[in-house]
Each structure stands twice: as structure tokens, then as C-alpha cells.
């Protein structure tokens, strides 16, 4: 595979993508599935190459400009963004990337999801702010395709897949962020079958701008008389412009921009407070935002979660991509920055800092985090494919279970460790890393969002320990442990360091088993869940150790720098990272009550 990467800023390593997609995940074999019959490694490579080129040409050049010149609201009330953002999205839509995994009937490329997501990683690494618009639009389109009517798909999905319309998700409200049960946005059905939506939505990424002919908001709201809590949430499609009789954007809907949020990073992505139905506009002469029910009433949260799982993998990959480019940039810097001498050499020429052991440690740590996270993210993306297109029903069920279990980790682990990678990238750059002339400080700021949105870090801990490991009577966790044991047993017979790592992974798996059983012993859910975050982080590191053993196995026998790099990163992970989990499992096993047995007045 020949890749042309024209950007001066290294974004991802195409050799690593080849390794993961073809040598490890054997994505090529998916072409045997009917849905992908028209594809081949050649078409996959062409897509990935095109993504790399587009990222370099259209996304990299304005990454700093969009950071420096934040979107603002002009006197006219319109949101002004640097013009390159719209142009990049137009190019993305024009090249078909918004429709990558969608049906040919929707003019999609009908790519495997895993290939499509790998392609998007290029855009995320190049400019996460601009790519956010694309990813939300794609996720939005997926949801409508799954639950919308054929007419809704035609009217809304089709223009989203070209980028003419862009999409948002409207979940949070000022008083209901993590607690969706408490949303107060209301939707009242009208005689014509539409609804009128009233309420305020917060943190809406891409919530307002002038970069598309329409904005398709997917809004969680409650209908009068709906059941309390999450069971009474419905999902509505609320466009910025109501469609006219020709299906074209017509009257301005009653959706008003209240204000833009100004964030530490992700400056290029508008983030809005939106008022629905405050009477700012009067579509059809009446106040209230015109909305269309998606699916059935009171099914909104379940439907949204369909989208959320994929969105969470997308967030994990965004974090990963930011970490990845920071890693590559710090490798470049470490190779060229000359400073200091080897131990014991008081004189003589200074050496590139990549010779210093601690710089190497910081590079290895980054490598192990970002290459590990990318592998995990692509593995999960392939599970999305398997759920939809694997040959046997059992295989699909198996993929679904594993995907459910891994999703909180695929989101939260990169969100935590790719930020750490970006911090190390700053550290490798020294004072330059803290300066805005270099790129790494922006990556760090941009990336810090990822453990907050799409479910905070803590929520993924509760999801994993409170729900996922217990679902289907523990079948998902047993499946993961089986998969890990399968890897370990293959590695145990392998050359070099593999057997030792296999043994370490088995011990880690054993700890997951015993700790999970202990936590879910009789009558202590409160204690079990009190340290759900420690559980998430410990299991996350074990999963990444498994991912690294998989990569090391795949690399076994491979010669040359690339494979040596995989082996040394695996060595790093087993020596420096996996052992961190011991203290976490010990804490969990102790059923520690520190956070429970305290009074709030002690702070």
C-alpha cells in the first residue's frame, strides 16, 4: 500500500493502519460479505489515501486559525466561523466521506464501518473541531436511518450525507446534563402530525452556524402525560429551517441561538445554548419549534443510545487521533532537537533528545497509549460491522455483547490516556510545547473535552460495572475473558517475550474475575459502585494489555523497525502500565468505603 501524506504535520502512521486493518483485523476478508462485495483492499486503500490527502490539504491548514479565531455572533445574529471550516466540510461531503458506510441506495460508499472510521481518524487528527461537525452529522444520519420513516430518510438523511445539511444531538439542558431523566423540554402533538417543541438545550455542538443549508437537530423531549423519568423521553427531529412544499428549507423554525459557549479547546466547533419554541420565530405563524417524531413516543432514550454507542466509539477515536498526531509530532521534535549529552559525557557534541532515556520513556508511553487506543477503537468499529453483517447469527450476538461491554472502555480509556499522551508530547517539547507556536498545547486543550462529553468518565464506570458486566447474566464479561484467554493461549506458545506477557494477561484476567465477583457479592451494590471509576480504569488497562498482546502476536516474526516498534511498545505496556492495575484491584477487593463514610461538611 502506497500512501501519500502531503501534510507537514504528521497525523497518523499509514503503516500502522495497514497493520491494524489488514494484518491484524483482516478487514479484507469482509469483502466476502454480500454488503461489501464490490470492495477490495484496493478500494479501501484508495479511500484511506484520499482521506489522508484531504486531511492534509483541507483540515490541517486551518486547525490553528480556527483555534485562534473563535466563532462569534455577528451583529446580524449570525454565527461567523473561519471560512475554511465550511470549505473543508464541503470537500468532505463532495468526496463521499459523510456517506462512507451508508447504503449505495443513499449514494453511500457502503464501506465497512471500520474502514470508514479509520478514514475519519485522518480528519480527527488533522482538525478535530472541523471533524466534529461531520461525525455528529453521520451519527445523526445513522439514527434517522435506523428509526426514521422512509420519507424522513429521504428528506433529511440524504442531504446530510452530502453535507448540505448538518446534524446535531440535543440532549443536555442547563439543569439536566448527566441526568437525562430530568429534562424539561416539552413536545406537544399538533393536528397535522407534527409536534411543537419548547425548551432550552445546552452544549449543542454545531448548534448554530451558516455553513449548511439546514441544521437537523435531534432533540430529546417529553410529551404531555409521558411516564416520568427516562421512560417518558421521546426523540424529535427539529430543523433550523422548516421544509417547504418542495422539500426545500423554507421558513425559519422557532429555534434561537441564545449564546455560544467559549471553551478551553475545540474552538473551531460552535457550541451553543439553544432555545426551542421561545417565539423568536413563528413558523406557520405560531410560536413553538416544529418537530417531527422519530420512531415511537417514549422510545427516545433507547433510540438515542443506538446513536450514542457509535458516538462513543467516535469520541474514543477522536481522543486517539489527537494523541496520535501529538505522539508523531513529539517523535519528530525529539529526533531534531539537540540538547544535552549522554550520561557521563561532560563534553563533546550535544545529542538529539531522543537519545535520553526519559524522552524515550515519554515517547514509548505515548506510542503505547495511542497505538493501543487506535487498535481498540478499530476493533470495536469492526464489531459494529460484525453486529450488522457477520455471517452467522451467533457471531452477530457475540459481537453485540462484546461491543456493549467494550464501548465504555473504548470511549473512556483514550479520553484519559490520549490526554496523558498529549501532556507527554508537551513535556518532550519542553518550553516550546507550552507555547502556541507549536501544535501540541492545542491538542492537549482540544483533547481534554473527551472525558466530559458523551457521558463523563464516571458514567462509563457505572455503565461498565453497574450494567455491562452484569448484562445477560454476565455473558458479556465471560466472553471478553474467553477472548483474552484465547489470545493468551496463542501467545503462551509464541517466541520471545510472548509467553511472559501471556502469563501477565492471564493474571490480569483472573483479577477481573475475582474482583468482579467480590464486588457483586451479596447485598453491597453501594460499595461495589462507589469505586466504579477505579474498576473502569483497571479493566481498561487489562483490555489494553490484551490489545497489545494481540498486536505483539500479529507482529511476531515480523522483521524491521515497524515490528520492533510494536514489540517494544508491548514491552513498555507490560512493564510500565499493566502493573498499575494491581493497586486498583487491591482497592476494589478491599471494598473500601472512604467515599461513602464521610460527611460533606468535612470538605
Amino acid at each position: 500500500m502506497k500512501h501519500s501524506v502531503r501534510s507537514d504535520v504528521p497525523l497518523l502512521d499509514p503503516r500502522d493502519l495497514d497493520f491494524l486493518l489488514y494484518e491484524w483485523l483482516d478487514v479484507e476478508s469482509m469483502c466476502a460479505r454480500e454488503r461489501f462485495a464490490d470492495h477490495s483492499r484496493t478500494t479501501f486503500d484508495a479511500v484511506l489515501d484520499l482521506a489522508a490527502d484531504l486531511a492534509a490539504d483541507r483540515f490541517v491548514p486551518h486547525n490553528k486559525a480556527a483555534d485562534t479565531t473563535e466563532p462569534y455572533r455577528a451583529d446580524t445574529g449570525e454565527v461567523v466561523t473561519v471560512p475554511e471550516v465550511a470549505k473543508a466540510l464541503e470537500a468532505l461531503g463532495g468526496a463521499g466521506f459523510l456517506a462512507g458506510e451508508f447504503d449505495a441506495g443513499l449514494d453511500g460508499m457502503q464501506l465497512p464501518y471500520v474502514v470508514s472510521k479509520a478514514a475519519h481518524c485522518w480528519f480527527q487528527a488533522a482538525n478535530v473541531s472541523t471533524s466534529n461537525y461531520a461525525l455528529l452529522t453521520v451519527a445523526n444520519a445513522h439514527l434517522l436511518q435506523a428509526y426514521g420513516t422512509p420519507k424522513q430518510v429521504e428528506q433529511w438523511v440524504r442531504p446530510m450525507l452530502t453535507g448540505e445539511f448538518l446534524g446535531t444531538m440535543c440532549l443536555s439542558e442547563p439543569e439536566a446534563g448527566s441526568s437525562l431523566a430530568d429534562i424539561t423540554t416539552r413536545a406537544v402533538s399538533q393536528d397535522d402530525g407534527t409536534y411543537r417543541v419548547t425548551g432550552t438545550k445546552m452544549w449543542i455542538t454545531g448548534g448554530d452556524h451558516e455553513m449548511s443549508r439546514n441544521i437537523v437537530h435531534l432533540v430529546l423531549a417529553k410529551t404531555p402525560g409521558a411516564p416520568p423519568g427516562v421512560k417518558g423521553i421521546s426523540l424529535f427531529l427539529v430543523p433550523k429551517y422548516v421544509l417547504d412544499e418542495h422539500g426545500e428549507p423554507g421558513d425559519r423554525n422557532d429555534v434561537a441561538l441564545v449564546g455560544l459557549n467559549h471553551k478551553m479547546g475545540n474552538h473551531g466547533t460552535t457550541n451553543a445554548l439553544l432555545a426551542f419554541g421561545d417565539g423568536s420565530h413563528l413558523p406557520g405563524g405560531t410560536a413553538g419549534a416544529v418537530g417531527h417524531l422519530v420512531g415511537r413516543e417514549n422510545q427516545g432514550l433507547a433510540q438515542m443510545f443506538h446513536m450514542m454507542n457509535e458516538a462513543r466509539i467516535g469520541v474514543g477515536l477522536a481522543a486517539t487521533a489527537l494523541g496520535y498526531t501529538g505522539y508523531l509530532q513529539s517523535v519528530d521534535y525529539a529526533r531534531t532537537r539537540v540538547q544535552g549529552r549522554p550520561l557521563g559525557a561532560a563534553s563533546g557534541a550535544q545529542v538529539p533528545i531522543i537519545r535520553h532515556p526519559d524522552v524515550r520513556r515519554m515517547l514509548l508511553a505515548q506510542k503505547s497509549y495511542v497505538e493501543g487506543a487506535l487498535a481498540l477503537g478499530l476493533y470495536c468499529a469492526k464489531l459494529v460491522d460484525d453486529v450488522a453483517t457477520a455471517g452467522e447469527p451467533e457471531e452477530r450476538d457475540r459481537a453485540r455483547l462484546l461491543l456493549e461491554l467494550l464501548t465504555p472502555i473504548a470511549k473512556s480509556w483514550p479520553a484519559q490516556w490520549a490526554v496523558e499522551a498529549n501532556s507527554l508530547a508537551i513535556q518532550v517539547h519542553g518550553g516550546y510545547g507550552y507555547a502556541r507556536d507549536h501544535n501540541v498545547e492545542q491538542l492537549y486543550r482540544d483533547n481534554r473535552l473527551n472525558s466530559i462529553h458523551e457521558g463523563t468518565h464516571a458514567i462509563h464506570g457505572l455503565d461498565l460495572l453497574g450494567r455491562k458486566v452484569r448484562m445477560a447474566d454476565g455473558a458479556a464479561l465471560r466472553l471478553l475473558l474467553d477472548v483474552m484467554e484465547d489470545t493468551a493461549s496463542r501467545a503462551a506458545a509464541g517466541p520471545g517475550a510472548l509467553p511472559g506477557w501471556a502469563e501477565a494477561l492471564r493474571r490480569a484476567a483472573q483479577r477481573i474475575t475475582t474482583t468482579t465477583a467480590r464486588l457483586w457479592g451479596p447485598g453491597r451494590p453501594e460499595v461495589a459502585l462507589a469505586n466504579a471509576t477505579a474498576y473502569l480504569e483497571a479493566v481498561g488497562h487489562c483490555v489494553l494489555a490484551w490489545i497489545w498482546l494481540e498486536q505483539a502476536l500479529t507482529a511476531a516474526g515480523g522483521e524491521g523497525d515497524f515490528y520492533e516498534g510494536k514489540r517494544v511498545a508491548a514491552r513498555y505496556f507490560f512493564a510500565y502500565e499493566l502493573p498499575r492495575t494491581g493497586a486498583q484491584f487491591d482497592l476494589l477487593d478491599s471494598l473500601d468505603r472512604t467515599t461513602l463514610d464521610l460527611s460533606e461538611t468535612w470538605f
Copy 2:
């Protein structure tokens, strides 16, 4: 002690300062020393109260403004800063805080160093950017007082202690950051006893501005024929304005601002690239920056390190103060932000998020980091006092040894963990924490600098393991272990959880002993130092465990929320934090060669 804190933004906990200064460190007893004979707890309290008031009145209000409106260079070439910075510094100087620990003969308050530093923590918590100017000026004045001539002290130190002149440290150059041996700035002696200095200095905090009548640069440079490397470095005082015959700032010296650096945080502090002797100005009609030798030739680095140790404690306290205010702000937020319900309650009113165990974990973690770091920083500041004023020579020597050993930890531990505290403060705030409407994202950005300047994180690892634990034939480390054992033995006889924590601390101390011995076994300095950072972090956590045991001992028997808070933070530290060191010591004991046995081409 009655403290009035008028700021809406909580900065530090005055009750905690009382606890640390009076209940733990018994600072009041220092008044028995001749130097502090005019002082009492009353004067100390007055100083601390005044600092809290000044911080609230003069430092807090422009913290965000100085972040938003960065210093810039006007068309006239002058640096423009928001005017409140100069006013705050003027107030600081006027109130005597720049002269806090200085001699009465210099119109100083002759305070114990520890009290003076505690007072400065208020300014650092309120506005670290503005306080940077003050701290550098004080450190500069200390150095001149130690090594300058009486005339230099009179001419330069006196106006710095009022804030009329401000000071800088000029060490780094574009090609010589961490590697000071490689500086190329030259100083050539003149017939009149002055020198002319030529060279470029980088990352100069407070390097140029219009906020003082003069700027006093302390510049490292080499004289012709000086020995190579660090042994040929001399120290020069190079003012922005040469003094005229009346001792007043006169001709502009040949020091030119090349450019301002734009950083991720610390926006309010100018950071400059300066050209010395490039002919931009011609003092006395000739190019070359007029400099005055400080101390003797070739002693520059040793002299600078005199200043660096205190500067490093100052950086540690700056990091701590940023962490501390972030902690208090997130406690306030967690008490008032209502979101979600207790485990198992599907309905009913939502509760403040401080009820959720994971939020409490994040608050406890912050509390343990910032209160622990503050305790360590003040302990080290008191050691500075003891070195200078303890009654017996043995006590002074002991303090000097312990201070030397603890300095790399007092700098690097807060720089690492107070950033983590700020990250947790963001996380407690959720989406709001990532938004610039709240303060915590700025703290996180401001704080990230602290593991880079005044010696990077890695350099402190090398300093600790490569130098400090071996100095005086290991006497410093033995002393630390003795001090830890003394604490453990007192705690072993204490009530409640103290004996268990004492045992844990003893095990930690044992690991320090065995691991240090193993690393410095015969013939493996390369291996020993390869993981110096892991050593720094592991020993740092052990030292903080000791600090927490000291605090818990001091709190033993105390009743009420404050003392309960100390106990639960100690409990948190021993349950969640100290166990992290196990994996680090294991790694060190394994003499791991991962970072040594690799080729740079594998990245």
C-alpha cells in the same frame, strides 16, 4: 485567628494555614530566635490576613482579564499589559510583601521565610501570572543579597523590595534550555570594571514591560577563556536602564525585546526572547549590554542554584496554590450543583453532586494533593529558615541536608499532582468546567507550566536519584528515612487508623531503602538513571504519605469537621495513592532496560 476573606473566589483555607503553621510546624516558636524576636503570632496573622485581603482585592479581579487580554507589543515597541497588573504589584510592594523575609535594614519585615511564603500563596492562588513578577523579583533580590556587593544591594535590591524595580532570571537560550553547559552568551570585561554582555536569552519571564522603573536581569554568561561547560559560567546583573550618576535609571541599556512568547496559560506574565548587545541601543555610545559581575567569575551556576532551590520551592507552591483554589471552587460547585439521585432512587428530588461517591473521590483526591503539597511546601520553607536561623549548627546542617533532598520533590510533586487536581476540578464541573465562564480551565492551563520551568520533571528525577540521595555518602536520604521512622513510631502508638498508616509508611520507607541500594549496586548508573522519573514519583508519593501521617498525627484527637477532613484525606491517601508506588518500585527493582534497549528508528 480571625481571617477576613473578601473574595468571592475561594483561594486557600485559612483554617488549614493555621493548622499547618501553628498546630503542626509550630511557627510561633520561631519567635524565640533572635532574628524574629519582634514577631509573634499576632504579627504573623496580620500579615496573612493582609495577604488574603490584597489577593482578593487586587489579584483576583484581573485574573481572567489578564488571561483574555494577553500582553502585546505596541507599535512603539513597548509591551502593553492590562493596567491592573502594575497596580497589583504596586500594592504588593507598598504593603511590604516583596520585602517580607528581608532584613529590617533593607526595610524588610524580617519575617520567617515560611510565613512570607505562606502569605505569597494567597497571591499565587488568586493570580499566578501577576504573582510571578513578584516571586522572581524576590528570588533575584535574595541572590543579590547573598552574593552582591554592599553597593549592589543598595542600588538594586532596595528598589526591588519596594517594587520600583522588578527582576528576572535569564538562563535559557534558544539552543540551550535544560543544558546550561551550552550557553553561548558572552561577557567581556571593560576597563571601568563593568562587562559588556552579548547573546540571546529565551523564555524570560517578565523579560520586558513598562510596569517598573527598571528591570534587573540576572544573566548567565561566559567570559573569554572561561573553563568549558558549567564551570565557566558567570553571573551578571544587566539592567534595562543603566543607572546614572545619581543612581537613577538613565540610558537605555543594549537589551532588546525580540519577541513575546504566546503560551497556553500564564498569559498575564510576559515571556520574552531578549537580545543582549545586539546594538539596538548604545549605552555610553557603544553597543553591548552593560553588565555587572555578581560574586566571582565562574561561580555563576552555583550562585544561581542558590536562587534556584528557593525558586523551585516557589514553583511548587505556585502549583499548589493553583490546585488549592481549584479544589475549593470545585467543592463549592459540588455543593450547589444539583444533578442525579442516590443509587437506587429512580425518582424524587435531585441531589447536590457532592452526594455522589465518584464526585467525593474527585474532591478527596484534590484535597489530598493540594493540602499535602501545601504542607510539604511549607515544611521546606521552614527548612530554609532553619538553615539560616536554627539555634545549633547541627540543626542547620540537618535542615540543609533535608532541604537539598526534598527540593526536587517539593517542586515536581505539586507540579504533577496539582495539575491532576485541576483536571479533577474541571471534571467535577462537567461541561461547565471546560467552559471559560468558569475559572477551573484557566487554572489547568496556567498550572501545566510548572513541570517544565525551573527544571523539567525529568531533571528533578536525575537530581534526586543521581545527586541528592548520594550526596554526603547518602546522609540526606538516611536523614529523611529517620524522620519518616520517627513519625511512624509516634503514629504506631496512636489511636484509630494511625498504627495501620504507620505500618504502611514503614513498608514504603523500606522500599525506598532497598530500591535505592539496588539501583546503586555496582556498575549500573545507566540503568539506575534510566528510570529516575519513576523513582522521583515513587519517592514523592512516599514523602507525601509521610506528610499525611504527620497531619493525621497532628489532627489526632481533634474534633469537628476540620479534623475529620484531615483524617479522611489521610485515609484517602493511604488507600488510593500510596499503593500506586508498588508498581513503580517493582519496575525499578527489575532494573528494566526498555528505554535503553531500543533503536530510535523503532519510533
